[in-house]
């Protein structure tokens, strides 16, 4: 049992901070689609009618030949978008219908990239991918997910004998440390299935490249790559014969897809070989009512059906791959499941903070007050406060900057302000008393999140609440503010009722941290 506790603590401490970032960003990222709408600035004088999907595709493929090879069309009544890989930039480019001027020429319009930044923070800690064959941030998070899974299994073994007793044991009895321990145990037990899903699916997605390379090297040989492509791609790559074709109207494509799969809800279209007779169109979306809800209807350019992949009509590989994504992203059960994932994500963040605090206090108790425990406690508090407050400022910058002459810098500023606040708060946490630092951060953080919907209301008026996605995101932000307020209230209550652990007071220097009674 002792070794299980050591393993649980070691793994938790090694992965706790990364998991806090992933879970806090992930809780907001549950509403990734809605956030994309929220981040678009609304100006009162918007009158221009953007072009439709067909015209947008024509314009993009005329001006960017790379887009003809492979592009993604994001259908939207107001402002459809197209994504393609631009070989000159070695990066994916997105163009919206509103990015084209009256002459139909694409003008790279600076747009907020807040939703993508939060997504990157979630799956790769915001570590940029410089185009390497392996995404370092994502693989790192995959490894973290594996450690998190081992910590979960060891936590289950530790708590299994006393699980019923601990389930109802959120009592601190005047002991601050016991409060953190009970809080950690209760959250861990309640949300164990959720965390198990997150660790396995997160590890499967994050470690995919490493596992595939090793599986190829050790077990199946170099042909594994081809097998993976064949088993997970919806249709084979385009082998062009040089014959051109007039592309069908996208409205007809959607009708043809619904003809093949009437219950399909379309999310996006992938077009390979635009204008090529050997090309194909994948209409991708969902069939509601299934956990593995992903579906594809693949059509040729004459709208002849090539393949339908849907629940009940797919291979075992597709049937197992779909739930990996949907269970991780929580997009299989409507708003209720999304809200549950959001709540469990925030609780998960609290689980990792409490786990790290427990580890520091326990280590301090076992080995005596030391600089390393004090340092790790301060680092934990600094990173957590930095991420929470930094993200709130990214939201504020995202809304404010498009209404100023600095609107061109919005995407850069969202990331920059987050990084600056994170670094400053970590630096401050290493200098200040942890108790004082936590009190101040918990006082400020709820107001940061409260101010975001207020700012949008001031800048954009009733649009902030009348439009459904805006309203949802603003309510989510208010919920984050309310949760932080509850944490603050509980934290203050504990301070009043119980003497904090010695690590929470004093400075990190010779002879410190000192016990509260000595100070």
């Amino acid at each position: 049992m002792r070794r299980m506790i050591d393993l649980h603590a070691w793994l938790g401490m090694a992965s706790g901070l990364a998991l806090f970032v992933a879970f806090f960003a992930g809780a907001i990222n549950v509403f990734h689609h809605e956030l994309h709408h929220w981040q678009e600035p609304h100006f009162a004088e918007q009158t221009a009618t953007p072009m439709g999907m067909d015209r947008l595709l024509e314009r993009v493929t005329e001006q960017y030949p790379d887009a003809r090879k492979r592009l993604y069309l994001l259908p939207d009544d107001d402002d459809p978008g197209v994504m393609w890989f631009e070989s000159a930039d070695s990066d994916w480019v997105t163009a919206h219908a509103t990015d084209f001027n009256a002459e139909g020429v694409h003008e790279a319009t600076p747009r907020s990239a807040l939703a993508d930044f939060i997504n990157e923070l979630h799956f790769a800690l915001g570590i940029p991918n410089p185009g390497w064959p392996i995404n370092i941030g994502m693989t790192f998070m995959g490894l973290i997910s594996v450690m998190y899974g081992v910590a979960l299994f060891s936590g289950l073994l530790i708590h299994w004998p006393k699980i019923r007793k601990e389930f109802f044991a959120l009592k601190h009895e005047g002991n601050m440390r016991r409060y953190w321990k009970n809080l950690h145990n209760v959250i861990g037990i309640i949300s164990f299935p959720f965390h198990l899903i997150m660790s396995v699916t997160g590890a499967a997605m994050g470690m995919f490249t490493v596992v595939a390379v090793l599986l190829g090297a050790l077990v199946f040989g170099p042909q594994l790559r081809g097998v993976i492509t064949e088993q997970t791609e919806v249709w084979s790559a385009v082998e062009s014969q040089g014959n051109t074709v007039i592309m069908p109207h996208m409205g007809d494509v959607l009708s043809a897809a619904r003809n093949e799969l009437p219950e399909l809800t379309v999310d996006w279209l992938e077009i390979r070989g635009y204008g090529d007779a050997a090309g194909w169109i994948d209409v991708a979306g969902s069939v509601p009512g299934y956990v593995g809800h992903h579906a594809h209807v693949v059509l040729d350019p004459t709208l002849g059906p090539l393949r339908v992949i849907a629940p009940g009509q797919r291979s075992l590989n597709f049937a197992s791959l779909s739930p990996v994504y949907s269970l991780h992203f929580g997009d299989y059960g409507g708003l209720l499941v999304k809200l549950l994932y959001f709540l469990l994500g925030l609780l998960g963040s609290l689980l990792f903070v409490s786990g790290n605090i427990l580890w520091c206090e326990r280590r301090s108790d076992r080995t005596g007050p030391g600089r390393s425990s004090a340092f790790l406690l301060r680092l934990t508090l600094g990173v957590c406060a930095g991420v929470v407050v930094g993200l709130a400022f990214s939201f504020l910058v995202s809304k404010l900057l498009p209404h100023t002459p600095l609107s061109g810098l919005v995407a850069l500023a969202e990331r920059g302000v987050f990084a600056v606040i994170l670094v400053l708060l970590v630096a401050w946490s290493l200098r200040a008393s942890p108790l004082r630092f936590s009190s101040q951060m918990l006082r400020v953080a709820p107001f940061c999140y409260l101010s975001i919907p207020l700012l949008q209301t001031v800048l954009e008026g009733s649009h902030a609440w009348l439009e459904a996605d805006n309203r949802l995101i603003n309510l989510v932000l208010l919920a984050v503010a309310a949760c932080l307020w509850v944490v603050r209230r509980q934290f203050r209550k504990r301070i009043r009722q119980a003497e904090p652990h010695p690590l929470w007071v004093g400075k990190v220097s010779e002879g410190d941290p000192r016990h509260l009674t000595d100070t």
Binding site: V211, L218, V219, Q231, S320
Partner: protein, 85 residues
């Protein structure tokens, strides 16, 4: 160090054990590749947990190295490696 090495050495072993399972089952390995990936990840986690159980540090790590070698040798006796799509 022990936990780190345990996590590191458990990965190839879990993959080779899943490979052996794929060789043993009477169905084409290509047909359940995604399930193999998920099973390998869960097995990796469980093996890393098992390594932490014994009181001494080195025996479980040596067992992992030996297990890796043995699994690799047994895999050579299967027709998996190099069989095309």
């Amino acid at each position: 160090m022990r936990y780190f090495l345990g996590v590191l050495l458990s990965l190839p072993l879990s993959l080779m054990l899943i490979g052996l399972l794929a060789a043993a089952l009477p169905m084409p390995w290509q047909g359940w590749l995604v399930l193999q990936l998920i099973a390998a990840i869960v097995l990796w986690m469980l093996l890393a947990l098992l390594v932490a159980l014994p009181a001494k540090t080195w025996p479980p790590l040596i067992a992992l190295v030996v297990g890796n070698l043995a699994a690799w040798l047994v895999l050579q006796a299967t027709p998996l490696y190099g069989v095309g799509a």
